[in-house]
């Protein structure tokens, strides 16, 4: 193992050692605060290391990993999101669960899995990353054992995720049977030497699409999304919505670019149908929901549909658009679920629309932050969501994907309705005096409050001055 090999995988080492350290520290003494600090510090160190160790060129560890600009960018994004989720988790779990320490091990391992996923260039590392991520998520979803619905959400996710993994694996096996290698680049070179794609490879890609589609939660593989979002604890929901889906999206972009899937019209057609169906069905189902968590679940289905537009456009601009949109989407989703977590009381999450009635009059700052998150999800100017959507449209227009671009515009208009509905509810005067829930010492909430404020500022900052982020993405992707 050369020195560069070692330095490249240090981010993975830091995470694994943090998980082991927490394990030992729990064996010595259960202290939520200590565990929380270890988690925060290790994630922060990991990110600082990533920034400090500026890889100047793409580095490959044969045959499993590739460390390029795209991978580094997504790794950083995943680490920062995991950090934000940790910040939200402290106040949330402090008041809800007696054994809250193991949650952080699972969180770190899930982050590790997502990072392995975004730097993989081989079916084995893809599978490994995906399963580290998924198996940690099963237990995170069902973590609050006393809640009736968390078990249900956990088992639903487990059965469906294992089901989709089986599809993914069978697809991989078919591709491997046909081409005799599991490395993305070698599959590509083998396929390009053939005149037409063999039926067995096409079937393999089809099965893999089912597996990937499940993880992304796009129509028609979206059935789990709403139930899991509703049943899982709010910080975990934030994690699934961002890291799990974003990691899979990054992998999809890498795989599709590597095998140059754009030349196969069958695959393009399948993904176009998936994108359009996700946008429409996600938005229409969100319209008739009264549960904020479910609204956000369906809206995330629609957002993945938007992302697929830039993915289908492809090329440098397409990948840049996907990266930028992921940043905007990560910030807004983490923020929205974070606020949901701070508003929740001991017994249940603040998920009904009624919980938000009159929020502007009782907690004006929280309501303002939530409003800006929702406006960004809707894609209103001056927020990161708007610039992200603009980028997607630009990528689509350049490749003349008129149908998809028109669908995106129509759906943004539909989506506006249910975001505005939540905001309007927060504006209403609340006549019924709600009994004050027995909350913890307010100092516990300071950390989550500060995190929310930072996320809101970032959201508006990127919305007003998107240049910095654009240049960063552009430079990282240009790395070769």
């Amino acid at each position: 193992m050369s020195k560069t090999d070692f330095l490249s995988v240090v981010p993975l080492f830091i995470l694994t050692s943090a998980a082991i350290l927490i394990l030992f520290s729990i064996a010595v003494k259960r202290d939520h605060k200590v565990i929380y600090v270890i988690t925060t510090v290790s994630l922060a160190i990991d990110f600082i290391f990533l920034v400090w160790y500026k890889a100047t060129a793409t580095w490959v560890i044969e045959p499993l990993f590739i460390f390029d600009g795209f991978g580094t960018f997504n790794t950083g994004l995943i680490l920062l999101t995991a950090l934000a989720v940790t910040m939200i988790s402290y106040a949330y779990f402090e008041q809800r669960e007696e054994r809250k320490e193991e949650y952080y091990i699972l969180l770190i391992l899930a982050t590790l899995g997502a990072i392995v996923l975004v730097i993989s260039k081989h079916f084995v590392s893809l599978f490994l990353g995906l399963e580290i991520l998924s198996v940690s998520l099963y237990s995170m979803i069902a973590y609050l054992r006393k809640r009736a619905r968390s078990d249900e959400a956990g088992i639903k996710y487990l059965i469906l995720a294992a089901f989709s993994s089986a599809f993914l694996l069978f697809g991989m096996a078919l591709v491997y049977t046909a081409v005799g290698t599991m490395e993305f680049s070698k599959i590509a070179s083998h396929l390009s030497s053939l005149e037409a794609m063999p039926v067995i490879v096409f079937a393999g890609f089809g099965l893999m699409t089912v597996g990937i589609g499940f993880k992304l939660g796009v129509v028609p593989f979206h059935m789990w999304a709403a139930d899991v979002y509703e049943g899982a604890p709010a910080p975990v929901t934030a994690f699934i919505a961002t890291v799990s889906k974003g990691g899979m999206m990054a992998l999809l972009v890498r795989f599709f670019t590597a095998i140059d899937g754009y030349q196969y019209h069958g695959l393009i057609l399948i993904f176009t149908i998936i994108a359009i169906a996700s946008m429409f069905i996600g938005n229409f189902l969100a319209l008739r929901q009264g549960n904020v968590k479910r609204v956000l679940a369906y809206s995330s289905i629609a957002h993945l549909g938007y992302l697929l537009v830039a993915f289908l456009a492809g090329g440098t601009l397409g990948i840049e658009a996907v990266s930028f949109y992921l940043v905007a989407y990560f910030i807004t989703s983490t923020g929205a679920f974070g606020i949901l977590a701070t508003l929740s009381d001991r017994d249940r999450d603040a998920e009904l629309l009624d919980d938000y009635r009159g929020l502007f009059w009782t907690r004006p700052w929280t309501a303002t932050m939530f409003t800006s998150m929702l406006l960004s999800l809707a894609g209103i100017p001056l927020t990161a969501g708007f610039i992200g959507k603009f980028y997607l449209v630009a990528a689509g227009v350049r490749e003349h994907l008129w149908l998809l671009v028109v669908m995106l515009a129509v759906n943004s208009a539909i989506g506006l309705y249910y975001y505005i509905k939540i905001i309007a509810t927060m504006m209403e005067k609340n006549e019924v005096e709600r009994p004050a829930s027995n909350e913890l010492n307010p100092s516990v909430y300071v950390v989550s409050g500060v995190t929310m404020a930072i996320l809101t500022i970032l959201l508006i900052w990127i919305g007003v001055h998107p240049n910095g982020m654009m240049v960063l993405i552009h430079e990282l992707l240009a790395l070769d």
């Binding site: 079916f123 599809f167 694996l169 069978f170």
Partner: protein, 102 residues
Amino acid sequence: MDQVPTEAGLILAGVLFTLGLISVLIRRNIIFMLISVEIMLNAAGLAFVVAGAKWSQADGQVMFIFILTMAAAEVSVGLALILQIYHQLKTLDSDAANKMKG
């Protein structure tokens, strides 16, 4: 001795996979759903072994070991969850564990 043809192995894997798939969809008992998913995973594993044999590489078998490990991890979490559900609902009918709608 003649080798088993690749197609035969793949067809067997495909049949197993389909059986598992049908069984997940029609079974109502959560434990049987879990077993069916395991059958699907093992079918995929078998396909990997067949493919590895075709190319005479170890990769297929390596992948199979990974699949076994992952399936074991999944079952252990799954059974723990099933115990929890049984405590709460006193049944393993998957229709009973369906409180969330919409």
